[in-house]
């Protein structure tokens, strides 16, 4: 039997002997992965979702409904309620009652037990939550399954433990809850952002009214069901759905003691302004334009992987994305060539397929915005390069894109695109790298790649941002504080520091 007769073994090509031969790597011509979609048949979604107020699902007072679609198929997944200011008011009232009557009366230990219970129930429902997250938001199932949902559970687990240990959190101070927290979360990591908000708030003894984004309300509504199943006292967590006006009503409500917002810098500023004179505490986690600095002594293959992870994770819908690559001139050619090769192996497609690396852009609006920036980049004279991947016919998808030949003054370098679009600039000295890195109103996160420890410590100190990933990127952990400098926000979420925005400290003597 001749093995050459089998279909697969005949793939050997003539060995190129000249360095001038075509050295392009071929990633797509042989052995394609068959579709491996996660089944969504068993997912139970209601046709319409009411508001979750005071422990029950209740219809909105005006009965206005909105629709959420699957951005990969453009099909409607469910209808949900647009909460009016009246609805917001009843949610805040419920939260206030729960705060006064039950939650603030509970011991830290008992609060902790409820939060632990929620953590466990998220783990139990992990798979379904991951599928719903991918359907509603377009993110690849690999990420919702391996990152979003396990991390969301981990945040609840972490903060649950703090509930009865607050006396140890702030030296010399007694930590007391604030009351009702109004929380507004974005569409890029729906359940994960919910956990960043709700877990520390509850642990510190507050009650919550949370509004998920209008394009991704489903996991928050599923979370409401979990709260119910966990027996969480009525009104401790209230989930109200809607768009900007609903959020504004929550921000403006006089009985809310604290606002936590994650979203764009533009909206963050509006919220900060509308809170002026109110004495409400607030945390803002806003936009970014993260510099990712690669020095010539970096571990280059891991740096390439880090660059990919920095900008293409979650379709680039990441506030801390490493969207500005700064490469030292000596290695830029080699690095960019490796990067382009690596981009060829990225699979864009069905978010529910386990092999998908880049899913759907979250909404038509965001898709249009990204397309506009791609045009701007070309108009600004930058060189665009996109991977040659196959694209789905339906839905909102964007090819992984890099721009070379850009300058610091270009809009695509200055403005947050929030998509799979990377700009690449070169630098010559560490000082120049730091200067370019900091030359932005943002300061959320940045990356440094070098094999030299002392360079890492110096450069990371000089970068004005709340997170520095050295020789890694886009890592998250419940114990690790996250948040921005400058216009990227105020306050920290995660870790011990993430408790601080949810407490009032008084002298402990």
């Amino acid at each position: 039997m001749d093995r050459k007769t089998t279909e697969n073994a005949s793939n050997g090509e003539k060995k190129p002997t000249s360095p001038n031969a075509d050295l392009k790597m071929e990633f797509s011509e042989f052995w394609q992965y068959s579709p491996a979609p996660e089944s969504s048949d068993h997912i139970e979604l209601k046709e319409r979702y009411d508001l979750f107020i005071d422990g029950a699902f209740v219809p909105g007072k005006k009965g206005r409904m909105m629709k959420t679609i699957n951005p990969a198929t453009e099909e409607v997944l469910a209808e949900f309620t647009e909460a009016t200011s009246e609805d917001v008011d009843s949610a805040v009232k419920a939260a206030n009652r729960a705060y006064e009557k039950t939650w603030s009366k509970l011991s830290g230990k008992d609060r902790g037990k409820y939060i632990f219970r929620i953590a466990r129930m998220i783990q139990e429902h992990a798979k379904d939550l991951a599928i719903i997250e991918s359907m509603d938001g377009g993110k690849p199932i690999r990420e919702s399954r391996d990152v979003d949902i396990p991390l969301a559970a981990a945040y609840f687990f972490y903060y649950a433990g703090w509930a009865d240990k607050l006396d140890y959190a702030f030296p010399g101070r007694k930590a007391e809850p604030l009351g009702v927290c109004g929380q507004i979360i974005p569409w890029n990591f729906p359940l994960l952002m919910l956990s960043w908000k709700i877990a520390p708030a509850l642990a510190a003894g507050n009650t919550v009214v949370l509004k998920p984004a209008e394009t991704t309300p489903l996991t928050a509504l599923k979370f409401a069901e979990i709260c119910k199943d966990a027996g969480l006292p009525d009104g401790v967590v209230n989930i109200i759905t809607g768009a900007g006006p609903t959020g504004a009503a929550l921000v403006d409500h006089p009985d809310v003691s604290k606002i936590a917002f994650t979203g764009s810098t533009e909206v963050g500023k509006i919220i900060q302004k509308s809170l002026a004179g109110s004495d409400k505490k607030f945390t803002l986690e806003l936009g970014g334009k993260g510099p990712n600095i690669v020095f010539e002594d970096a571990s280059i293959d891991q740096a390439v992987e880090g660059i990919i992870n920095a900008i293409f994770f979650n379709q680039g819908h990441v506030c801390c994305a490493g969207s500005r690559l700064l490469v030292q001139e000596g290695i830029s050619e080699k690095l960019i060539s490796k990067l382009k090769q690596r981009m060829e192996t990225l699979i864009v497609g069905d978010p529910l397929d386990k092999n998908t690396d880049i899913g759907a852009i979250n909404s038509r609006m965001q898709y249009n915005k990204i397309q506009e920036y791609l045009e701007v980049g070309v108009q600004e004279g930058a060189t665009i390069h996109q991977s040659s991947c196959e694209m789905p016919e339906k839905g909102f998808f964007c090819k992984p894109t890099i721009f070379t030949g850009v300058g610091q003054s270009n809009r695509i370098v200055q403005e947050e695109i929030f998509g799979p679009v990377l700009t690449i600039q070169t630098f010559r000295t560490p000082e120049e790298a730091v200067e370019k890195a900091n030359n932005t109103p943002y300061g959320l996160a940045g990356g440094i790649w070098t094999d030299k420890g002392s360079k890492i410590f110096k450069v990371s100190q000089q970068i004005r941002s709340g997170v520095v990933w050295a020789n890694t990127y886009n890592k998250f952990d419940p114990t690790s504080p996250f948040g921005g400098y400058k216009e990227s926000g105020i306050g920290r979420e995660g870790g011990l520091h993430g408790l601080y925005p949810y407490v009032r400290l008084s002298a402990n003597r």
Binding site: M1, P19, M25, E26, F30, W31, S299, E305, K354, N355
Partner: protein, 302 residues
Amino acid sequence: MSTNTIPDFNTTVSIDKVGVEERVSRLNKRSIKKESKMQALKLALSMIDLTTLEGKDSEGKVVQLCRKARVPYAPMPELPSVAAICVYPNMVSTAKKALQGTEINVASVATAFPSGMAPLQVKLDDTKYAVEEGADEIDMVISRGEFLKGNYNLIFDEIAAIKDACGDAHLKVILETGELETYENVRKASDIAMYAGADFIKTSTGKISPAATQPVTLVMLEAIRDYYQATGKMIGMKPAGGIRKAKQALQYLVLVKETLGAKWLTPEWFRFGASSLTNDLLMQIVKQETGVYQSSYYFSTD
């Protein structure tokens, strides 16, 4: 790095351990199903260097192994044969005879395998003997002690000399990565081997634990990629030892596919040094064909 320029092996290509392992863990999440799975199982089967390297090896054992190499599973004669048989030098002629009329190669370990603790002349004689006996491929070991001492030129010269002694036989250079410990050493040894004339680089003898691992393999594949881009020459890769399950084999193929691309997905450029892997691949193939989970009783254990 310009063409044909030998790099300075005293400089180290830096490699971040955690980054390599994260990359492997991400690649391990590829889901290989349906047709792509069947295709990969058959491909993996065709890439096996079916190996027996024991002190108790005998002609009888080798002949039986060769039969397995030709027809891995009699009920499915359409399946590919394996790529090669890998034996000690004194078994080469037996294997060669048993495989006459097939395209299955005979590979021989040489150079005082597995330790390499012998003078160069002994290693050269060992190699020449195996080639004269008919070996198509020579699997040599590097002198790890000298490598760890920093005698990189000695390693380079030794490989170049063995390559010379190989004549037309293909040279696989075993780095014994389990004894090199760091990924940076693995990378350096890979570069030395390739620039010194290796046709293949191979992870392990199978006598040291850990043997082949996926992170080590990834580092070596990346070295092969960089060498290819610098010189235009393709070098083959052979992880060996510890690869027993079909699932692992598929994961290795994903590593190859996404690092080097389709050109390397052939027995000419990628091999598994393994023995028990064969049956697990066969069981999976039969499972895919019949939908019935298999038992080892039904698969020959030669």
